[in-house]
């Protein structure tokens, strides 16, 4: 059965390519030869059960963690070979990351949180704040601009986090269970905002989730099982035999 699940959007080039990634933490093998292509402008869901290696894969693809083996290639450069300074610059300029919770700086207002990546990239304060305000508006949280994270609801905080991830115009956004801590309605608002904004801007999104309703926002889905990526309809469901092998 050939479904769109198996194939990315036609004609879109590969933005980030991972081949044969292995990563262990102590004696635990989180990734065991994971390979994946994220195409330009696509929204790709990576699904799998707890402990399947989803977050480790995201960390490797976004340059937060270097794999023990294998390569992540972006724009002709292998992330694992880049000096830390160049990697930081890439992460700041080309990648945005959203986690389940806790990524906003608690001492800063929503506006300052969103303006921060622009300031770090060298923007002038006035321009950074104007742009941050526009992004808060786009995500429907302009009214919370002067609030600190502790004064906002979970859904509002996530929308501010999305604004911060997208404010620099990144080529890719990595979202790790972005609605995991939210109720259904707040989760829906966050996903709708993310998907619309990413499509408008042509930003690729790698979406980590264990939730089929969230995965359904993506253009396609791959499954991570026992540290290996499976694509196509055979991807996602794990059997007892496969688990035992792990």
């Amino acid at each position: 059965m050939n479904t769109p699940t198996e194939q990315p959007l036609s004609g879109a080039g590969v933005l980030i390519s991972a081949r044969g990634l292995r990563k262990s933490y102590g004696r635990t093998e989180a990734l065991r030869g994971a390979s994946l292509d994220l195409h330009e402008g696509e929204i790709l869901a990576v699904t799998g059960t707890s402990g399947s290696g989803k977050s480790t894969l995201l960390h490797c693809l976004s340059g937060i963690v270097r794999p023990d083996e294998g390569a992540v290639t972006y724009g002709g450069e292998e992330l694992g070979l880049l000096p830390e300074q160049r990697l930081s610059e890439l992460r700041r300029r080309d990648f945005g990351v959203v986690f389940q919770f806790g990524q906003l700086i608690p001492e800063l207002t929503a506006l300052d949180n969103v303006a921060l990546p622009l300031l770090l990239a060298g923007a002038r304060r006035g321009h950074a704040h104007r742009t941050a305000g526009e992004w808060l508006e786009r995500f429907g949280v302009r009214g919370q601009a002067d609030l600190r994270p502790g004064g906002m609801s979970g859904g509002q905080s996530q929308r501010v986090a999305l604004a911060r991830a997208l404010v620099t115009g990144p080529r890719a956004v990595f979202a790790d269970e972005p609605t995991g801590a939210l109720d259904t309605l707040a989760g829906e608002q966050v996903m709708t905002a993310l998907v619309h904004t990413a499509r408008e801007a042509g930003t690729a999104v790698l979406l980590i989730t264990h939730d089929a309703q969230i995965a359904a926002y993506a253009d396609r889905e791959v499954g991570l099982r026992d540290g290996v990526v499976h694509s196509g309809p055979a991807a996602v469901l794990g059997q007892e035999a496969a688990r035992r092998e792990g």
């Binding site: 059965m1 479904t3 769109p4 699940t5 996903m191 709708t192 998907v195 619309h196 939730d211 089929a212 309703q213 995965a215 359904a216 926002y217 993506a218 253009d219 889905e221 196509g232 309809p233 055979a234 991807a235 996602v236 469901l237 794990g238 059997q239 007892e240 035999a241 688990r243």
Partner: protein, 189 residues
């Protein structure tokens, strides 16, 4: 649930009579409504009429005389076709999928030729293909409800279907994870 195909699936293991088929059906699908005797015999007669089953003879086995039925080659082929067919993803389809999973296990246990000339049913492969069909439908519904300007009725109708399809997907995930145990249970009973 297609009683006709489930009875045909039970016959994959070998000839049987109506009473025994009813007993097996009720045991395999304990949460379903028990099958009425009348429905068993009517269904068996229709299977014979359509050439999917045949009368093997009669046997009493110490009790009242009963008609034995067996599946025909055409019946096995039809069973293989049905068990592989993806169920249209709509709310509340789990019973149909569960029936196909159990029947696939029964046919696979009957050995090669259980689905003569047809595809060999594979319960795990079926669940994976069914999940892919569900996810495709869920993507369509999500796109529908997130279309700018979608009215609330459309959103709520899509939400209703999505919540039920999601429940199916969760069920398929846990069933696949336990397919070896289910296979042992179905084949052992």
């Amino acid at each position: 649930m297609s009683t006709r195909h489930v009875l045909l699936g039970l016959l994959a293991a070998g000839p049987s009579h109506g009473y025994e088929l009813k007993r097996q059906y009720d045991a395999r699908f304990p949460q379903a409504r028990p099958l009425a005797y009348g429905q068993v015999y009517t269904t068996l007669q229709r299977l014979v009429r359509d050439g999917l089953a045949a009368v093997e003879g009669t046997g009493s086995d110490g009790g009242p005389e009963r008609t034995l039925y067996r599946s025909t080659a055409e019946g096995s082929h039809e069973l293989g076709r049905w068990a592989q067919e993806i169920t249209a993803p709509a709310p509340f389809v789990t019973n149909e999928i569960f029936a196909k999973v159990v029947v696939s296990i029964l046919v696979a246990a009957a050995g090669p030729g259980g689905a003569q000339d047809g595809p060999e049913p594979d319960a795990a492969a079926h669940l994976r293909a069914q999940r892919a069909a569900h996810m495709e439908r869920m993507r369509e519904l999500t796109a529908l409800k997130t279309t700018p300007g979608a009215d609330l009725s459309t959103v709520l109708a899509a939400d209703y279907a999505l919540a039920h399809l999601d429940a199916d997907v969760r069920w398929m995930t846990t069933t696949t994870a336990r397919i070896d145990t289910l296979t042992a249970e179905v084949n052992g009973s």
